[in-house]
Symmetry: C2
DNA sequence: GCATGTGAATAGATTCACAGCG
DNA sequence: CGCTGTGAATCTATTCACATGC
């Protein structure tokens, strides 16, 4: 085992999936080798960042040549844990939960949705994306039996913290939260969140700034309104 | 006009929506005043960060007391541009696009979905979330007539860059991309992205690290397998 | 020669710790 | 006295620039 340097910066980890995606694309078109420059372009970052990021993983490139696509792809897959498959449960089968259940992009990367769970008895028994929705009460058994590692919360905000608690006590240690609320998990559990309206609000902030600036310029140029 | 300091750090902007949400909640339960400590707890950050963040907006608190909920809420709304409403178009009405069209959380914050657009003629004319799906060809007219400011891309990866180009040339200057691919926009256009499988991959990275560490401990303690 | 790998420099974000003020 | 507001210290991330080695 080569002794690569240990701590990988968070910012780097967050970019590995971008490189992974770019490399998959290159591998599909049988490109044998790639430079940091080209990879940077595909991942939407700059070349220095690519090289620095890879330097945390080890020395996988060849000076004067670039990176071997297949080899680098394997290294990054391994680093990201994509060489194994991860059983996933989705809790909350509303519009978003159902869309996630149908999303094809997960399975492609080794994330296998093994259960859909909802608190609403009316939803249980229905089929969504090839799986039958099961009651929330069965969550502990489902997690244990199917060895669920990752839980996705797609419930309304009011239910999210309770569901998170259930997931964690059932043994799930990675949680992805889509509910528009802050949830707490104990140390040793990873939590990531995706909040759709927060993204729009951030866009709104910058949009407004631009509008104001444009307004300012119009006034400065003598009110051509 | 009070001369507040101008540049607000990106990291701060990204947290303003969290404070906004917490303050809406406090306002609903008629809490008149709130400390940075309490607000930090609700937003899932720490108190020093809250105070620093607010210091970029101006001095809106009272020493020894805290922040006036209503007043601070107004200031943050204004800063985020939530006092106006933003017409939004969603392009790509698959599972995810349809879920977004039905999502109630947008309208609540002043984001009004004014059009759904899809390239597939079979989808056009269908009603989704109270709106009729319109053809992609009408996008320029739709953006102009309905004064669309924000475009949401929920198409497959292969179509995303083309759609982004169409949005931008139609005059949209804020784009939220859900397609799992990197897209480029010209300077002066804001772009944010949400990639569901990237989030899972990041969780997978840390999950695997924990699993390895647990494995390591088991071995170290003498192979109790 | 050429692209990687990396120390050094810079920029940005977070946290500390306490002065300032109601 | 209590809590805000903020410089200073620290930590993290990005970028630069070039020595290194194929």
């Amino acid at each position: 085992m080569p002794d690569r340097p240990r701590r990988i910066p968070e910012a780097t980890v967050a970019r590995l999936p971008l490189y992974y995606r770019a490399l998959v694309e290159m591998a599909e078109q049988r490109t044998p080798t790639v430079s940091s420059e080209r990879l940077a372009e595909m991942a939407g970052v700059n070349a220095a960042k690519v090289r620095k990021d890879f330097s945390y993983l080890g020395s996988y490139g060849t000076r004067g040549v670039g990176y071997d696509v297949e080899y680098l792809l394997f290294q990054i897959s391994r680093e990201l844990g994509l060489t194994q498959d991860w059983p996933v449960v989705i809790v909350g089968i509303g519009n978003l939960g159902a869309a996630l259940a149908n999303y094809r992009g997960f399975s492609a990367r080794g994330f296998r949705i093994v259960a859909l769970v909802d608190a609403d008895p009316a939803k249980c028994g229905k089929e969504v994306g090839g799986l039958v929705v099961e009651p929330l009460a069965d969550l502990p058994r489902i997690v244990a039996e199917r060895d669920v590692a990752i839980g996705i919360i797609a419930t309304p905000a009011a239910a999210a913290q309770e569901v998170a608690g259930l997931l964690v006590s059932a043994g799930v240690t990675s949680v992805l939260n889509f509910a528009p609320t802050v949830i707490a998990v104990p140390p040793g559990v990873s939590l990531r969140k995706v909040d759709l309206s927060i993204e729009l609000q951030i866009l709104s902030f910058y949009q407004q700034r631009r509008d104001e600036a444009a307004e300012g310029r119009r006034v400065a140029f003598g009110g051509l309104t």
